[in-house]
């Protein structure tokens, strides 16, 4: 069975402005972080997946269909766009219910679904408030409820944490994780790495309209072969440890600090094996080993900022 979301050599221009270029992507069930700096092409990618715009070249397939040409396919897609505009005079409940009716539900079912979706997004108590009087965080939740109201298979969230307070962010992160476990494809776009890291470790990295990398964070880090891994080792006698480490193969350099050393490792596999043996021998007082550049921030930096 083919993945629910497939991009095949997709390019998209806005006149002479490049949105995305030659994107190949296949997303299976789970949560994906769509990462990139502002203007990288994240929103364009989500709009293409939602059928809001058509590709200039290539094809986008959602559950085997074209979301731009076939309105029926859009029944399986929920999008939470980055726009903060609504029909301000409506209540959150009325708006979400109205949107649910556009997805084909009758009045009663649309109302039931709207109430449930708003409740799930933490808007149970404020659902009868006019949208115009809602805070930015509330509006964000209403938008998310709208995206969830028809129980979509593909959920596209464009900068969803914008405007949420810390409690709301926490609840939202948990909700996204839960949605990803429920057999859906959830794509969360953000330029805030920490946000994405909390939700998933599977990322798609976009830069200047091109896909730079996709997969697990560790997997992508492993592909940055020209960048030595930086590993911090806390120990009782850094000088002795540094001497032992220097004797190992594939070491690019060592920084000596008070109570710790930072090693630049060229081939991490062999290094960690040797380090384990060294630790088992005892005498050096190794307390902790921590990779410094295996997180999303570092991977992003290596791939984009350089």
């Amino acid at each position: 069975m083919s993945p629910p979301l497939i991009f095949e050599r997709v390019s998209r221009w806005y006149g002479e402005v490049l949105g995305v270029s030659e994107i190949d992507l296949e997303l299976e069930e789970g949560v994906y972080g769509l990462l990139g700096v502002n203007g990288a092409g994240k929103s364009t990618l989500l709009k293409l997946a939602a059928g809001l715009i058509a590709p200039s070249l290539g094809s986008v397939r959602v559950l085997g269909g074209d979301p731009h040409a076939d309105p029926g396919i859009r029944r399986s897609i929920g999008i939470c766009p980055d726009v903060d505009r609504f029909y301000e005079g409506m209540t959150g409940f009325a708006w979400v219910a109205h949107m649910a009716r556009l997805f084909g539900f009758d009045r009663r079912e649309a109302g039931r679904r709207a109430a449930a979706a708003l409740d799930r997004c933490g808007m149970a108590e404020s659902m009868t408030k006019k949208i115009g009087a809602c805070s930015k965080g509330m509006r964000q939740r209403i938008k998310l409820a709208r995206a969830l109201v028809h129980d979509p298979v593909l959920l596209l969230l464009d900068e969803p944490l914008t405007g949420l307070d810390p409690v709301g962010r926490d609840a939202f992160v948990r909700l996204v994780r839960e949605l990803g476990r429920g057999g859906r494809v959830v794509v969360v776009s953000s330029h805030v790495l920490g946000e994405v890291e909390e939700m998933t470790n599977r990322i798609v990295l976009i830069h200047q309209g091109r896909k730079m990398a996709s997969g697990g964070i560790a997997e992508i880090r492993g592909q940055c072969e020209d960048r030595p891994h930086r590993v911090e080792i806390r120990c009782a006698s850094p000088r002795d440890l540094a001497r032992e480490v220097l004797a190992m193969e594939g070491i690019g350099g060592i920084e000596l600090h008070e109570g710790r050393i930072v090693v630049q490792v060229l081939s991490p596999g062999g290094f960690f094996e040797s380090l384990t043996r060294l630790g088992a021998r005892g005498g050096l007082g190794i307390e902790a080993v921590q990779p410094l550049d295996a997180d999303l921030e570092a991977v992003f930096g290596y791939l984009v900022r350089s």
Partner: protein, 288 residues
């Protein structure tokens, strides 16, 4: 088909409520009501000196039929679509599993309904003032039922066609308001002033609406005479003994022709709206 009708109806109900309760209803309501009040004042102060048919017909034609009706309907229909595009709320509709034709037709129907209501308000105010104001109209000078009823065509038929034009402009052009203003204030006046036998008038809405009014306002003789004289570009000369009824047949289209022209105009505008809005991209380039 049922799904399409259902989606169109949903778009219609939402747009209808949103347009009706918007600030522009206050503005256009006041303008149309203002026309009604002006007619009432005319009846009040001049109703005993001039025939009310004339007092009602000429100002109504020049202010109500040729300015207020097109302006109200074109503005409502353009803003129904363009505001969604500008505010980006159209995103929510375009990502719903509905055809774009449902959106454009629903918006057009809502703009037609709301502008009919707003225009109708001014018309009712004008007509009811003739009925209820203590006007000292002399025998035979009171506003005739056929004249007042004839102008109801402007309320019923005008908004349908004007809103169709507005919808097309809004779907197709970024500067739709400017295009709408050019249509209402330039094209309608320019083409609508050409002699009837030139055929150019058929490319307007106002001519068909005027035709419907002229055909039915048979008690407003002076009004009809002037209008036919204008349409004939001077060929109709009543002082030479030319018959008004014969000139009407010669220079003014029949009601059937007027309805047909309005139907064609509306149909073509809506078709153009559907065609140009079918694959159009309403998303702008991403911000750097």
């Amino acid at each position: 088909m049922i799904a399409w009708i259902r989606a169109t109806f949903l778009i219609f109900t939402q747009a209808f409520g949103s347009l009706l309760l918007s600030k522009k209803t206050l503005f256009f309501g006041a303008m149309n009501l203002g026309y009604g009040v002006l007619i009432a004042l005319l009846f009040f102060f001049a109703g005993d000196r001039a025939r009310q048919d004339s007092l009602f017909a000429f100002p109504s034609l020049f202010v109500f039929v040729q300015i207020l009706v097109p302006l109200t309907a074109v503005y409502y229909s353009i803003s129904a679509v363009r505001e969604e595009i500008a505010e980006k709320t159209l995103t929510f509709l375009l990502t719903a599993p509905i055809r774009r034709s449902s959106i454009w037709i629903g918006k057009w129907a809502a703009a037609t309904a709301v502008s009919t209501l707003v225009i109708g308000l001014g018309y009712l105010c004008a007509v009811s003032s003739a009925l209820f104001l203590p006007v000292a109209a002399r025998e035979g000078r009171a506003l005739h039922g056929s004249t007042s009823m004839a102008f109801a065509w402007a309320v019923v038929a005008g908004p349908v066609a004007y809103a169709a034009m507005g919808t097309f402009l809004a779907v197709r052009f970024r500067r739709a308001m400017l295009a709408g203003a050019i249509f209402v204030f330039s094209w309608e006046g320019f083409a609508g002033s050409t002699p009837a036998n030139s055929g150019v008038r058929d490319l307007t809405v106002v001519d068909s609406v005027r035709t419907l009014i002229l055909r039915d306002a048979d008690s407003a003789r002076r009004f009809r005479r002037e209008m036919v004289s204008w349409a004939s570009a001077g060929e109709f000369r009543p002082w030479r003994g030319d018959s008004l009824e014969e000139a009407l047949e010669e220079f003014i289209p029949s009601k059937e022709e007027a309805w047909k022209t309005l139907a064609w105009f509306t149909g073509i505008c809506l078709l153009l709206a559907l065609l140009s809005g079918a694959g159009r991209d309403y998303e702008t380039a991403p911000k750097e």
